[in-house]
């Protein structure tokens, strides 16, 4: 694992985990099927970033944290039913809007 957290978590690592926890808590308040979907998308995204993003790339991580917080706020709103993700491939034909 490229991001093995040592014994003591750095401030940034704590923020990441706190955000992750926030998403999982928000998911609990949604209906079961939506909750499963949210958990699977969020988990995949965090896992992917943990492997692909350089631990020292503070600027990018901070950007991801800010973006994540905004998405979490939206998710917490009772109007939001769930998340979906779509792949934006290089071929413009495949852009699907959800």
């Amino acid at each position: 694992m490229s991001t093995s957290k040592g014994k003591k978590l750095s401030g940034m690592q704590k923020q990441v985990l706190s955000l992750y926890r926030g998403f999982l808590r928000a998911a609990r308040s949604k209906p079961t099927e939506d909750r499963r979907q949210i958990e699977s998308i969020v988990s995949a995204e965090f896992q992917r970033n943990s492997k692909q993003v350089d631990r020292k790339n503070f600027l990018y991580i901070e950007y991801l944290l800010r973006r994540g917080k905004k998405q979490l706020d939206q998710l917490k709103s009772p109007d939001t039913m769930g998340l979906s993700a779509f792949n934006v491939s290089s071929s413009k034909k495949q852009n699907a809007k959800t």
Binding site: T3, K5, L9, K14, L17, L24, R25
Partner: protein, 126 residues
């Protein structure tokens, strides 16, 4: 409510069909269920019960190999999980024991024994 069920349980005991051998009917309630007369909420969980339930939660985690799970096992060092999985396990424990664990404490729980200690010492664990 606990009083009512405790009284009902107590009342049920004498109703035993006598077997052909004249053995005196023994009260059959399981000793594991702690005696709960006159308590307004459940008496605290036994350490054994906490250990069993914590291990069950950890064993049921999809990324975990159940045969590796012992009460002293470290989530990341022994079970090969990462810190995100750690968060998920602690949240699963929250749901099992009906607790809400603050971030500061949750960050410290990275092994089975710490989880067991924390839950056992928590007054609201249920």
């Amino acid at each position: 409510m606990a009083l009512r069920s405790a009284v009902l349980r107590y009342i049920r005991v004498p109703v035993q069909t006598l077997t052909a051998t004249e053995s005196k009917p023994q009260p059959q309630w399981s000793l594991r269920a702690s005696l709960r007369l006159f308590s307004s909420h459940d008496v605290h969980l036994t350490k054994e019960e906490v250990i069993d339930r914590v291990l069950d939660v950890v064993k049921s985690f999809p990324k975990v190999d159940p045969s590796q799970v012992t009460p002293n096992v470290h989530f990341q060092k022994d079970l090969g999980l990462d810190s995100l999985d750690n968060v998920e396990i602690v949240m699963a424990l929250e749901e099992e024991f009906k607790l809400e664990i603050p971030d500061k404490e949750a960050d410290k729980i990275d092994a089975c024994n710490l989880a067991i200690e924390y839950i056992y010492n928590h007054p609201m664990a249920g």
